[in-house]
Symmetry: C3
Subunit: 339 residues, 3 copies
């Protein structure tokens, strides 16, 4: 692709060599003469001035004298667009590997691919353009929509429904039993775990993440939501659309999460908490059982507090030894006076 | 099943239509005329009054005028009993899938089932009524008792012993090497990890959980203990009977946990800590290395403290900015007096 | 092996029966007459005096009157050396299981072993003495060096490079896509995840751990570093040599970690943080985004602070209710005076 074509694709203003041949996207630091990079922020722009990249995406208003550049409103987003053109995903080659074990009643699109040692049980449906990786397990009645990508060793328990364009990374488990017990007669009695999981369109789920099915109802992961590695989603959780949930976060049973929620890594959310639209939860925060986090709130810490409050308390926390000294001083002065 | 039969089964008092046909258990919110639900607590009872459920389990003393109900001492437990009758687990159909790879010396009960692509090494024993899922790996000498259910892609390292009635969810790893190194001569030297894992009867282990074998001794998970998804159990840990350990909790090496202990999610327990019978550990708590948590204690926070103390401190923590203001005020007043 | 041979091997001073036959290493508590144990520290030495172990490794200066002992500078390290001789790893028997699916262009050493149901894609290279476990997936172009051990169900995405002597435990995923999105036009747009993973020599990676490949650059795990179960390593992370990272720790994108760093369990490290050589990070600590932890520093807590500071603050935290009482008292006394 020529630099000029990329500028047209991303709707940017080119400065420099319009015919420069670009083959790949790369980091500013390592990019070479046939690579496209992006720079945003002061530090990156300084780096960009010394970069050997063949072409650099810049924020509007910025410029570099010696390089071929494309000015755009959002350089990182423009890189995403350009990368999609420079590195198109290899199309799924329809095929069913002879070592896959497929139940006779499974309906697999003629345009899907099923990898070696996959196991596909009765009544499974797989849509066109979907690739099912090596060793994937799809339990009885699972439905997988079109254009999904299931990486190796994904396990999907019976009855789960997966929309279109869903990506599930290696080792993730979808639809396992929720964790619910009633203690009686000296032992833990398992509450029935008979519900389902629905993973809506364009969701991405990270490696070795786990999503439990509903106990009696349904666990839902809303459209466009992105879930990182090793995240745990418990039974009956309902997550809205276009959320991002970073690695190792755990969402307990019956939690409700709105749309456009962002959660840092290692967050813990207690049973039945409610996190409203566009809330942001800082890494390692703990949301107590039943707690409501209002729309657009930014919270931090355990138990989670609004960010401003959290910052104030933690500043005082650092001062605690000095405060204690001060109190001792005041106290002894008061005693002396009394004496 | 008729409502009257369910009432007999759970030992409850029926009010309403004894012949009502019930096919399934369901949530109060979604239950229809052929479904059984339960209600406990004020909010649920209000919901129950408007529920379309064919039959509702209620706590003794409660009643609903227009519905068929069964009054019992413990409605949720009664639902568990009824669900066991309405949704009996499908019996294991004895079979060995032709794609499973089974060592000649393995002894598999004629009443067990082994799924596609399972790999069963030398000297493994599998009891009757046990189902081994697709792609499960059982290393040399592993013993699995009767009536166990190993879901797809479970990996069990050589020598582990698994009791009867044990459930292990997809992707869990049992018996991997513990994490022990001695730093010397500029590198980490691995301590021998030669011990075993014993998983006692009626244990349940969640998806992608990991349980390491003992270094020289044995890692033990006691009878009836339930372990959620993504939990880590390190080498030489000994967990007692009928504990519940929620998702993403990590138990470090040589920790000893008593019976009937309950642990929230994302708890961290340091090396050689001791948690005594019936202790409760709040979510995200951190138990320091070597710490003892006495019998029946409820602890919370990092480092973990008794709940009452934790609550008091955290209440004051919120007040810290105000306390600091107060001190400043007292201090300046004191100075003025001196002046 | 005779006790005398072990003493020679570990360079220690034998006292007692030089011809004592030793077959295994064991715990002090359970060791029998043909087993070797070690004792270090007061408690262990007291235990050692009553141990039935056939031979005990002791620190120089210690002695036991009735047992065969070997005095060495570092008993635990000596046990590691002795265990290597008493329990030699079984050599890899070269073989390729007939159920493994291997692309024609893969180059597998004649001295490697490939287990049942492994899947090895185009252009993979596997070195001599390496064993690839049951159901392992190696994507296109993966290179695995000599003397590695990949346990069952490990998944390695295309292009990853694994050095020599690397151990990867069951279910670990190497090289999955990083978690990077740009929110625009009402949805999360995925940043290209096209980079690689390099796992250097002698690294060990725990069960169900996840290591993402670089977005555009490379994720590197340095020589001799040991990573425990369920750890998450995000894209573009660079970890130095001989680090130890305990279970369930999460390292966010572009973090740089030096050499000989030790991290407790459940630590969270924010994006682009820098942890310098020989730093120690306490369990459950949280390192904020972009934070630098200087060389040799020991930090604790969230947000992480130097250990001494952390201890002081937490001591005062426990005193907070008393401090508050004191302030109230001072305050009311001050008011009374004014009145």
């Amino acid at each position: 692709m020529k630099a000029g074509e990329i500028a047209d694709l991303v709707g940017g203003a080119l400065a420099g060599d319009r015919d420069r041949e670009i083959r790949r996207v790369a980091d500013l630091e390592t990019a070479g003469p046939d690579e496209l990079a992006f720079a945003d922020g002061e530090r990156a722009l300084a780096l960009a001035a010394r970069s050997a990249a063949g072409c650099i995406l810049l924020p509007e208003g910025a410029s570099l004298s010696r390089q071929t550049t494309i000015a755009v409103p959002h350089p990182k987003l423009a890189l995403i667009r350009a990368a999609a053109a420079l590195h198109p995903e290899s199309p799924v080659e329809p095929s069913i590997h002879p070592t896959a074990v497929i139940a006779p009643s499974a309906r697999i699109s003629a345009e899907a691919s099923v990898g070696p040692h996959a196991v596909i049980e009765e009544d499974v449906k797989i849509g066109p353009g979907t690739s099912v990786g090596a060793g994937v397990f799809l339990g009885r009645g699972v439905e997988v929509g079109p254009r999904c990508r299931l990486y190796p060793r994904v396990s999907v328990y019976p009855g789960a429904r997966i929309g279109s364009g869903v990506v599930i990374h290696a080792g993730a488990v979808i639809g396992s039993d929720g964790f619910g017990y009633v203690f009686a007669e000296g032992r833990q009695n398992k509450f029935p775990q008979l519900g389902r999981v629905v993973v809506e369109d364009d969701v991405e789920i990270g490696s070795n993440a786990t999503v439990d099915r509903g106990a009696l109802g349904t666990t839902v992961i809303g459209q466009g939501t992105k879930i990182d590695n090793l995240v745990q989603i418990a039974h009956n959780v309902r997550i809205g659309r276009h959320c991002v949930i970073a690695a190792q976060t755990g969402i307990s049973g019956s939690v409700v999460i709105g749309d456009y929620v962002a959660m840092g890594g290692q967050v813990g959310v207690g049973d039945r908490a409610r996190i409203e639209d566009q809330a942001m939860i800082g890494a390692q925060a703990g949301i107590p059982t039943g707690k409501r986090i209002p729309r657009r709130t930014v919270v931090w810490g355990t138990p989670a507090r609004p960010l401003a409050e959290f910052k104030k308390i933690y500043a005082h926390l650092s001062n605690l030894p000095k405060l204690a000294d001060k109190i001792r001083e005041l106290s002894s002065r008061a005693s002396r006076k009394r004496g």
